[in-house]
Amino acid sequence: MDEALFLSGLLAAGIRLAAPIALAAIGETISQRAGVINVGIEGIMLVGAFVAVLVTVMAGNPWAGLAAAILAGAAMGAIHAVFTVRLKAEQIVSGIALLFLGLGLSGYGFRLTLAQGGSAVQVPGFRELDLFALSDLPFIGPVVFGQHALVYIALFCAAGLAWMLASTRLGLMIKAAGDYPQALDAAGGDVDRLRFVCVVVSGAFAAAGGAFLSTAQLWGFVENMTAGRGFLAISCVVFARWNPLAAVAVALGFGIADALQIRMQTSYPGVPYQFFVIAPYVVAIVSLAVASKGSRMPAALGTPFVSQRQ
């Protein structure tokens, strides 16, 4: 029974830790499928995390914070889109600039507002759903029915996106924009507009991931609190071969690894804790080496498109 309890707790915590990475990975999948790589989602997540806490405190409602974070993330995505899609700038460099910008804006805003009081601010963040009898079920209760509402929304989004990419006209157009934009262009589609929208949406998802981190997983903002989760999300996308549902599954793997290392820290006090902290990063590095071999990324990923139509 102890093992079952441990496993149930581990899975429940793993899902909670995976959710921010999964949300960001869903967004990055959309953007990369359309042909735009965004290495700055770490910066967008930070802005999302900060804005969510700020507005949650001001409005007293975490959903208002989430909405504000999504808007801020979309705006950050729009900056990336203007530079990469409209101005055809180097996508990686624009992403790096976005990372600095997000790091700076979130830290700057935090020191101007929440950090002013000196004492920690009370954040009325998200609580786990309580579906009464269901959540009290042994083992599966806390894992399946005891999560934050956002977890279910993320899963729903991933499934919807997978369906959209596989079976709709819009999905086909997005894939064309990322794989062979000339064809979409010749068929009369607007490659740049499609890419622009996808990049903005990916920013919104990344910010929602940040909001989860700061208003559901933790209740508060700390400078640079994402600690590489944005980059973990990008490696999820690569590892999942640009499939949104698989990306969520990979994120769950990272989340469980993280939950496990936290538990190991207390179980093995003799081992320096730093060795456990690096575990998820090492998992990411190794999986990157294993998964990249022979993976087929969107053919036009990273390439600006210039329409040849007059």
């Binding site: 101005l87 804006l105 700057y108 600006p304």
Partner: protein
Amino acid sequence: MSAQAASFRLQAVLAAAFMVAMVVGAILLAGANPLSVAIGIGERALFTRAGLLEAVLRTIPLTIMGLGIALAFKARIFNIGMDGQLIAGSVAAMAVAPFLPLDALGLFLLLASGLAGGAIWGGIAGIIKGRFGGNEIIATIMLNYVALQVLSWLIRGPMQETMRIIPRSDPLDAALRLPILFEATRIHLGLVIALFAVVAVAVLMQRSRYGFKLAVVGANPHAARYAGIDPRWIAGGVLALSGALAGLAGAVEISGVYGRLQEGFAPGFGITAIAVALVARLNPLLVPVSAFGFSLFYVGLGALARNGVVPFPIVNILEGTIIFVFLAGGIFVAHRTKRVQAEALDG
């Protein structure tokens, strides 16, 4: 100029103007006057002796690291892991220090160890990129976090000072410290090393076969393959090479400034080095100029932040904005649009 190109340029100007307006807005939000902030930066950085010297001191590691970024980015290999490579280099230097002779040879070997440590840390990312085709951005970033944690363990464990009070190493022997160049300043021999590195990297990039290969791989990996250049070898090698420069910068900082290993030295230098190299347009001869410019900015802003005029993260906002403005400015480099079109056709 066609109407299309004109509207393209207008958009670039508007985008750059928007980014600058955002910085001005951020300063206004803090209740400060953007004009007096700008003047304050100039006054502190350019017209005080302490400010100017501090900027020169900061220019040394940023130049060495900016050169490494220029090399890698030339081949379109995006090394974002210089912070980790710098740590690896300084750890390697401190680890061999107790076994070194206490003379000029020892100092040379200390710096060489830093170089080697950085090369190994960059080389790990190089293997992931070159051998397995893994994205180097993710690999180098992840290795940053690993390096940070390993350093945190080392200075609380095997490499902690003999007193075992503060998480830091014992000090380096005076013989292994880089000598001070000018009386009553902190400017050390690293300045000469940095300038030497500028010349070496400039020759490598602009006069050697290797530099040409980097440029070919960066411009078009497919063409490189036809020319008998293996882009995977170039990618792996240049990651190790730029890591080596970051490691050298780490050893120079330890030996020239701090004299011991501790946490949080050279904060964010790896990120700033990227901005330095991009603004220098990856030209090694311009890297020191750009590094000095960024250092002046940092010193000036840092002084204002300490006085509570604006919160410190304005530095990051400004670095991001400078890169965005640089990207928008790239539109105006004449052949730029043509190259993009050629790439689009090629893709």
